[in-house]
Amino acid sequence: MAELTYRDAVAYGIAQEMRRDPNLVMLGEDIAGAGGVFKTTVGLLDEFGPARIRDTPISEQAILGAAMGAAMTGIPVIAEIMFSDFIAVCFDLLANEMAKSAYMTGGQLSVPVVVRTANGGGSRFGAQHSQSVENWCMMIPGLKVVAPSTPADVVGLMAASIRDPDPVVFFEHKSLFASKGEIPEGEIVDELGTARVVREGTDCTIAALALMVPRALEAADRLADEGISAEVIDVRSLVPLDTKTVLASVEKTSRLYTVEENPRLCGWGAEVASIVADEAFWDLDGPIVRITTPHIPLPAAEALEDMAIPSVDRIYETVSKTIG
């Protein structure tokens, strides 16, 4: 076991796959010599060379287009979109092109692309560099969506995403880059569409994603001090969505909370809540409660941003007040 930061786990996971598959290539802005603006691709240029680790112009449509075209010929491609907010400038390639290619060609084409992107708040970057946009991608049929919360999951889900034959949007959380975790020895390959129970409990289920997972765990510790036993689920993969794990947990706890960093309307938790309401209504002892960033653009000031994004305090207080 080695301890790695979430940041270093990104390059570690990519390198594992690049050693395995000599066809795998990556492109993006400042990813080569600079090692990425978040230093998530440090060392890859040295090991794999400029033909496989390619810097691009600031041209997000050109980046995703080149990735898609190469992938359609069978070459797996990792494309980096520096900040997930920039997905908006190349959303056509994601939403209209990659996502629909297999379906509208009657299965003639497939697009093995992983779009890696730095997502989420907490860095005081303001409204255009801090968003959690996983719900933008989740709503498009034909895209798979992953958001790991630990270094080990970064490696394992990266491998699973790269080996998947469909387009996968891989959200790396900016505020988790400095976090550390153990990485098992040897090749690590995880599975898309699998959530994980990261803390067992009996009184309520808290489903969280990415940065919200460690916050939910910390809130669960405080709830335990009050005698409330919270089960915490790291959702990990929004598409495919592991509803079985969530439904099984709610069957046991009879209460569901979602903790979502995306703004409230149409956040991923709304879909989870809808499924649980449809399929586990009679297991519930109270209303499903969504704890989300409010429906506002994110503010830059530290004090304001901290009020906006669900905090340990807010999770703890919301559960404590509503669990009855």
Binding site: V25, A51, R54, T56, P57, S59, Q61, A62, L64, G65, A66, A67, M68, G69, A70, A71, M72, T73, G74, I75, V77, D92, L93, N96, E97, S101, A102, Y103, M104, T105, G106, G107, Q108, L109, S110, P112, P141, G142, P165, D166, G193, V239, P240, L241, D242, T243, K244, I275
Partner: protein, 357 residues
């Protein structure tokens, strides 16, 4: 140029001064193109013309639903490039893609069946007229959002470069595409990476219903932008199959040799409107008439006669194509409407559509 908002012709574009075609260059008779290639070009333009006419007739019979964008009048561009390509080269088209799909060798019956939304269609009825794709012949798709596919075409070119093959990618698009950001991103990217890709602007003078010269900052919307990306300005008579073939062969050969991308502007005209619902009334009547007089097919017919191809050979080709178009129509009409089992297939590469367990 800039727009004068007091110009009364802004109330009715058909009142603007007509833009007449250049006359055919008589020297093109003497272009160094073997007669068998020219006969092949004739067959190709006949296939596209007769297919598109039939597609139009089937709209009128309400057998084709939705929309469709025909290449009637523009056949020489597709034929000229296709004849200059190798089978393993890649092609990308826009929603006006029937011609380019057929030119790459797709079965006429399957293409027709796709227009009719039938199970025996090229895409099993799931893509329709605007998304024709024939991947096994490296016809990599028809794309209906302006600009994106130029970026995607870079990707197949990049792939060929990485794999060390000599495949060239040819990407067709319209004049309106030259004003969208993706066009500019794609050209810059292709040049910087020295990709083996030939971008072909089919300039039919109208961006949907609006004259392109009213919305482009330069007279030749593609060719005049080429120097900004370190590319040569190339304009070709898009209504002359031989002229297109020569330019295509040159650009494709250079890309194949590793000399990088090219941008070709082929000037042409559509005989009909932008799409099914459009009668094209925004065009000056004498302009339409002048371009109909420059129809590539009768012109080419006359040229081949001058070059010694017997009339009988040309009518044999024409009749053979007519028979195949009839057969394609019957094949398409005989196809079943796709059943519910197709609704949930092919979202993912494994053929399924599951998003949860």
């Amino acid at each position: 140029m800039s727009i004068d908002l007091n110009d009364p012709a802004l109330l009715d574009y058909s009142q603007r001064p007509p833009r007449h075609p250049e006359p055919v260059d008589p020297a093109n008779d003497g272009l160094p193109i073997p007669l068998n290639v020219r006969t092949d070009l004739y067959k190709r333009v006949q296939e596209l013309r007769q297919f598109e006419k039939r597609a139009y007739d089937l709209f009128m019979q309400n057998l084709v639903k939705g929309t469709s964008h025909l290449s009637l009048g523009m056949e020489a561009v597709s034929a000229g490039f296709a004849a200059a390509m190798q089978p393993e080269d890649y092609v990308f088209a826009t929603y006006r893609g029937h011609a380019h799909t057929l030119s790459k060798g797709a079965d006429m019956g399957q293409v027709m069946a796709e227009l009719l939304g039938r199970e025996n269609g090229l895409l099993k009825g799931k893509g329709g007229s605007m998304h024709l794709t024939h991947a096994e012949a490296n016809m990599m798709g028809s794309y209906a959002i302006i600009g994106a596919h130029l970026c995607i075409a870079n990707g197949t070119a990049w792939s060929a470069q990485m794999r060390g093959t000599d495949q060239v990618t040819v990407c067709f698009f319209g004049d309106g595409t030259t004003n969208i950001g993706a066009f500019h991103e794609a050209l810059n990217f292709a040049k910087v990476w020295n990709l083996p890709v030939v971008f072909v602007c089919e300039n039919n003078l109208y961006m949907e219903y609006t004259p392109i010269d009213l919305v482009a900052a330069v007279p030749n919307p593609a060719a005049d932008r080429a120097p900004a990306y370190g590319l040569e300005s190339i304009v070709v008579d898009g209504n002359d199959p031989d002229a297109v073939y020569m330019v295509a062969a040159d650009a494709i050969t250079r890309a194949r040799r590793g000399e990088g991308p090219a941008l070709v502007e082929a000037q042409t005209y559509r005989h009909g409107g932008h799409s099914r619902a459009d009668p094209g009334k925004y065009r000056p009547a004498d302009e339409v008439e002048a371009w109909l007089d420059r129809d590539p097919i009768p012109m080419y017919h006359q040229r081949l006669l001058r070059l010694g191809v017997p009339e009988g050979r040309l009518s044999e080709i024409t009749q053979d194509v007519a028979r195949r178009v009839d057969e394609a129509t019957e094949f398409a009409k005989a196809g079943a409407h796709p059943g519910e089992e197709h609704l949930f297939t092919d979202v993912w590469a494994d053929g399924g559509s599951a998003w949860r367990n």
